[in-house]
Amino acid sequence: MEIVVFYIFAAIVVAAALGVILLRNPVHSALALALVFVCLAAMYVLLNAPFIAAAQVMIYAGAILILFLFVIMLLAPEPESGAGALRFQRAFAALFGGALILELVLVVASAAIPAPAKFGFLPAAPAGDVYAIGKLLFTDFLLPFEITSLLLLVAMVGVIVLAKKKA
């Protein structure tokens, strides 16, 4: 049952991810990316991590991608024609993309990945994983957590400064 659900969502994720890079219209690409995020969330649910799943949908699909769409719609760029200003980047793209694929193949081939004992739902955490995540964030990962909040503060101040200058 779980494996069937996994393959259905995996197929959609791969198809949608291809759509992100192959579709000509930027709005369609953004929509395909939204589909990727939602289906990834479904996979987190299969991995018994509903909190991560909800956060994935809320933050990536619900906030970040909506802002992408917002900008795309305001700028209303022409659909990509295939030829244009970005042409010289093709050689670089092929080079670095090829290097990345090679690296991934090497890593996966050389790493000893233990076979999963049983695919499917892991035993449910009784208090819910939210409790466990909160506990970890405020003990072991307190410093990275606080540094992240500082980063966000810097970004916010930066935005306000930029917006004030114009007015």
């Binding site: 709005v27 929509l31 809320m58 906030a63 909506i66």
Partner: protein, 335 residues
């Protein structure tokens, strides 16, 4: 039982889902009628009273009219996006109801039937996530129509929904700190004695204002301000596609009212724990929706900058202050 438990479970869930969708769409149809009655009363008009006794068959007449209208699409529209947008709007609106607990579990013989489709332990986050997906219906509808008014309406509504989502979520955090659970069922069960609104009056007010903004209702109906934008994001929609947008708006009103009832007003619990059951939840939802309609009949629309000021400079700091005070009080009483 002679049935496999997994199969039985799937069948029960399917039946619950179908009943829930039918009930929601029925509620939508009659909400439109009630809204027209209430607003007519506020504006000293008579309101619908021609179709059937006291106008009771009006929603059915409206539905038939809607189905037989021409399904028109603008020539320059992005056909795929234009078509899926209403589907996303109504789909996400209905999905939210999967986690709303309607009443205490029913016992039929040995079989326990929860009056809730799925009791997941992150229900509150699920609702926020589904709510944030609902924006897609509006944005895509506005962009896909290839119409200036539609696009402006969609952009306004994106800004409005994203801005008001933040204080809405933060208003719920205060309750989460008190209840210590993200499951709506547990939250409702904890409120058998005292409702959360007693501990979180400010949270409730912030949540209510934000939920009005999230459902695009007056005084926050800027996305479809008819004097400026014709009809906003659904200007180019007709027939059943328009009906889907219309439905999703009313289902969203039902959803935010149901969340307010479950999180702040005790859900299916009666006052002082008297006779818990779905009737209390329905009564509370009806009361909240009446306030929605009352506001529509009496308040003028906000200006766009006023809307943003209210969201970011008033509601957002207030909701943070609410969390801070709640945390300090919880720390002092050592809970």
């Amino acid at each position: 039982m002679f049935l496999d438990p997994l199969l039985l479970n799937i069948i029960i869930t399917l039946i619950k889902t179908i009943v829930m969708i039918a009930a929601l769409l029925g509620a939508f149809a009659y909400l439109t009628l009630v809204e027209r009655w209430v607003v007519a009363r506020i504006q000293s008009r008579i309101g619908p009273n021609r179709v059937g006794p006291r106008g009771l068959l009006q929603p059915i007449a409206d539905a038939i009219k809607m189905i037989f209208k021409e399904d028109f699409a603008p020539a320059q529209a992005d056909k795929i996006v234009y078509t899926i947008a209403p589907g996303i709007a109504i789909g996400t609106a209905l999905l939210a109801w999967a986690v709303i607990p309607l009443g205490p579990p029913l016992m039929i013989g040995d079989l326990r039937i929860d009056l809730q489709i799925a009791d997941i332990n992150i229900a509150v986050l699920y609702l926020l996530a589904i709510g944030s997906l609902g924006i897609y219906g509006i944005v895509l509808g506005g962009w896909g129509s290839n119409n200036k008014y539609s696009l402006l309406g969609a952009l306004r509504s994106t800004a409005q929904l994203v801005s008001y989502e933040i204080p809405l979520g933060l208003a719920l955090v205060g309750v989460l700190m008190i209840s210590g659970t993200l499951s709506l069922r547990q939250m409702v069960e904890q409120q058998a004695g005292v409702w959360n609104v007693v501990w979180q009056p400010l949270g409730f007010i912030i949540y209510f204002i934000c939920s009005v903004a999230e459902t695009n209702r007056l005084p926050f109906d800027l996305p479809e301000a008819e004097t400026e934008l014709v009809a906003g994001y659904h200007t180019e929609y007709s027939s059943l596609k328009f009906a889907f947008f219309y439905m999703s708006e009313y289902v969203n009103i039902l959803t935010v009212s149901a969340i307010a009832s479950c999180v702040f007003l005790g859900g299916y619990q009666g006052p002082l724990g008297i006779a818990p059951g779905p009737h209390w939840l329905i009564l509370k939802i009806a009361l909240i929706i009446f306030v929605f309609m009352w506001m529509r009949g009496t308040l003028p629309r906000f200006r766009y900058d006023q809307l943003m000021n209210l969201g970011w400079k008033v509601l957002f700091p207030l909701s943070l202050a609410n969390i801070f005070v709640t945390a300090v009080v919880l720390l002092v009483i050592g809970k």
